[in-house]
């Protein structure tokens, strides 16, 4: 029954379970000569979670920006809950939640006022809005401090408020950009407990993180980006068997200086307990990808 509540925007007579939360086909994003995202294809079912991994400049942020409509893709298609982002951006966005890395709320306003404002943006009003705000505040355990200006809350509370603003409208797909950055272990656990609870209710996730054990522990699937190319994706077991997709050498190397993608840098950026399965798998995939770089 709760799952039904999540998708109150859905058309009658369509089986929700049959739909993918996200379908991305051959997505290309270019900034001038820089090919930021190159032929990305992804599928994500409801309740599934995907960790998007890659070094700085690998195309993670551009992918997330394209998924939430902040960047116009040059080609390819994005469907959220079966709805085309290009053809129906408003409806598509109403099924999407975004948790930016920065705190995406007004620090001067109270937590409750922030939620009320965000709720109105998603078409919630009146009693329904107040009920949803109450539920979400209870859900993220911020009901006691909801009257305080958001800027005066602790780091962990602010992260939870950031998450609350993103799930108020019961999204089908949640995009999380390093949701636990700068948090201690307890606060991280609290965030992941909340995310697991959302996942149990049918919400799908795409998560970018530099914490390998978070990706390994929380996400069903992992996708690895390198120079805008999705070089590998799947469960950990599937990744262990995969050979990376070939990556083209850049036509304009001077434009790609920001892309730090050597195995060494990537391993340095990603943090996790040494000997993590995912770490060894990624190291192998990246090393092979480096070796198999092809001339365009």
């Amino acid at each position: 029954m709760r799952g039904k509540e999540l998708w109150f925007f859905g058309e009658e007579g369509v089986s929700m379970a049959d739909r993918f939360a996200l379908e991305v086909d051959d997505l290309h994003v270019r900034y001038g000569h820089l090919h930021a995202v190159c032929g990305l294809s992804l599928r994500l079912k409801r309740g599934e979670s995907l960790a998007l991994l890659g070094a700085n400049g690998s195309g993670k942020s551009s992918t997330l920006s394209a998924l939430c409509g902040l960047v116009q893709p040059d080609s390819g298609s994005i469907q959220i809950d079966g709805i085309s982002l290009t053809q129906n951006p408003g409806l598509c966005r109403s099924r999407l939640g975004v948790v930016p890395q920065d705190f995406a709320f007004y620090e001067e306003m109270s937590g409750r006022d922030n939620l009320m404002f965000v709720g109105r943006l998603y078409g919630l009003h009146g009693t329904r809005l107040r009920r949803k705000v109450r539920e979400v505040l209870d859900f993220v355990r911020l009901a006691d401090v909801a009257h305080r200006p958001a800027g005066t809350l602790s780091g962990g509370m602010q992260r939870r408020l950031n998450l609350a603003c993103s799930v108020l409208h019961d999204p089908v797909l949640l995009l999380l950009d390093e949701p636990t950055v700068g948090l201690d272990m307890n606060s991280r656990d609290a965030i992941y407990q909340l995310l697991e609870s959302l996942r149990d209710r049918g919400c799908a996730f795409i998560l970018t993180t530099h914490q390998l054990h978070e990706a390994e522990g929380f996400c069903d699937k992992v996708a690895v980006l390198r120079k805008g190319v999705l070089i590998a994706q799947g469960t950990l077991a599937e990744l262990a068997r995969q050979n990376p997709q070939p990556v083209k050498k850049p036509l304009h190397p001077e434009l790609e200086e920001s892309r730090v993608d050597s195995v060494h840098h990537f391993a340095h950026e990603l943090r996790g307990p040494q000997g993590t399965n995912l770490e060894s798998v990624l190291s192998r995939i990246l090393a092979e990808s480096n070796a198999r770089e092809v001339t365009p």
Binding site: Y31, A36, C68, V98, P100, L121, Y122, C165, L175
Partner: protein
């Protein structure tokens, strides 16, 4: 009803529901901005108080010029001659209603001009009185000949480089006074015995301001109009910078990933900025009316229309500068140059009749000039509703153009990922 339910409605209701939802979204965005504005009450009070303080200050500076009959030129007088005729001339200068003098030595006068504590000094040189007296004797005894005329030492007018107008005024007034004094002596022999010579202006002269106002010029009318408009522009800039701050933080990402079109996001910001700006104008001009004797010479409806269009101008110009600047530091510098430039050229600081002709002509290309014209028409020259609406229309046309450009520019930045990558 959620805004999404419109998609299930019949096609006939879709556009009406969309319009309703759009209006509600704009109001929600506006309400959020107003809430943020009033969450810092001290900042809000300052926002309303500063244009009043600026208007009072500038009005006080120009208050002395309120009564044209009492307008005096401040002048330093250096008297280096002790002849009785010179003393007589100095007495006449002291009594002149057109100049206020301060007597100093030559070196002190030069020091005062250098220190910018005076604009004009007139030096009556040694020997001037004796020479003029000798000339008078020759004329009265009918022995005057051009060849034998005694050489009169030159009266000197020294002035600050920028005070050419005051120097010309001093020259005219001194010539008038000396002529009056000497003419009585020179022409006395021509008058019948016992006739009292009078050398006042031999024709009547009437002076009036045009266009006519039912009230005399109140310096506060100009200062409150100018300072209020200038502060509106700063408020518009501040509001535009808030957009950049949102963009820098994650808030913009949240707003843009919500089912709200970019046009409505901008419109919400424009409406909230316009409303606060409108309140600023009402309070500022209300204060001027209540405490500084500024009266509404034009139409009440014209005032409301003009105030709304000026507020819209501030909001859209601020938005445009912010979008063009892209980063907060760049936008702030760009805005300061634009605001100060448009304020100066538009005549916000000094009445525009004091500006050179080419500046007056060039200023017609700026909406700020038309906004001030509209306000001065309402509070000073008594413009009718149509004249005020003409100014308001021009200002609004500029505002709409600025809004369209800002929207296009921002949409282009999004399309090309400039916001994401900081590329230009």
């Amino acid at each position: 009803m959620s805004n999404h339910s419109v998609f299930q409605s019949s096609p006939a209701n879709v556009s009406r529901a969309k319009l309703f939802n759009s209006a509600r979204l704009v109001w929600d965005l506006t309400r959020k901005d107003l809430l943020l504005f009033f969450l810092d009450p001290r900042a809000a009070v300052l926002c309303f108080a500063i244009p009043i303080i600026l208007g009072l200050g500038f009005g006080k500076i120009f208050e002395s010029t309120r009564d044209v009959a009492k307008t005096k030129l401040s002048m330093i007088l250096v008297v280096e001659d002790d002849h009785p005729l010179t003393r007589q001339l100095v007495q006449a200068i002291r009594q002149s209603p057109r100049i206020g003098i301060r007597e100093e030595t030559r070196s002190e006068a030069q020091a005062l001009l250098t220190a910018r504590r005076g604009n004009v000094a007139v030096i009556i040189p040694s020997g001037m009185g004796a020479s003029l007296s000798e000339k008078t004797q020759l004329i009265r005894s009918k022995l005057w000949q051009k060849e034998t005329e005694p050489v009169t030492p030159a009266m000197r007018v020294i002035h600050s480089p920028e005070a050419l107008l005051e120097a010309s005024w001093a020259e005219g007034v001194m010539t008038e006074i000396v002529w009056k004094e000497l003419a009585g002596k020179w022409l006395a022999s021509l008058l019948p015995p016992g006739a009292a010579p009078s050398f006042e202006r031999p024709f009547p002269l009437e002076q009036e301001a045009f266009p006519k106002s039912s009230a005399s010029f109140n310096s506060y009318s100009h200062s409150f109009s100018g300072m209020s408009l200038q502060y509106l522009l700063f408020w518009g800039m501040d509001s535009g910078l808030l957009l950049l701050r949102e963009r820098k933080r994650g808030v913009w990402r949240r707003l843009r990933s919500a089912p709200v079109p970019l046009s409505l996001l901008l419109l919400g910001r424009i409406v909230s900025t316009t409303l606060v700006a409108f309140a600023q104008v009402l309070l500022t001009m209300g204060f001027a009316w209540a405490f500084c004797g500024v009266t509404l010479q034009g139409s009440y409806l014209g005032f409301v229309i003009m105030a709304l269009s000026a507020s819209l101008m501030a909001a859209t110009m601020g938005m445009l500068v912010a979008v063009m600047g892209q980063s907060e530091a760049r936008a702030r510098n760009l805005a300061i140059v634009a605001i100060l430039g448009m304020s100066m050229i538009g005549g916000y600081w000094l009445p525009s009749f004091l500006l050179p002709e080419w500046v007056k002509l060039g200023s017609m290309a700026f909406p700020t000039t038309w906004a001030l014209r509209g306000f001065e028409g309402i509070f000073w020259t008594g413009a009718n509703l149509w004249e005020t609406c003409r100014c308001a229309l021009i200002v609004s046309a500029y505002s709409i153009a600025a809004l369209v450009i800002a929207f296009w520019w921002l949409a282009r930045q999004e399309t090309h990922g400039i916001l994401e990558k900081g590329q230009s």
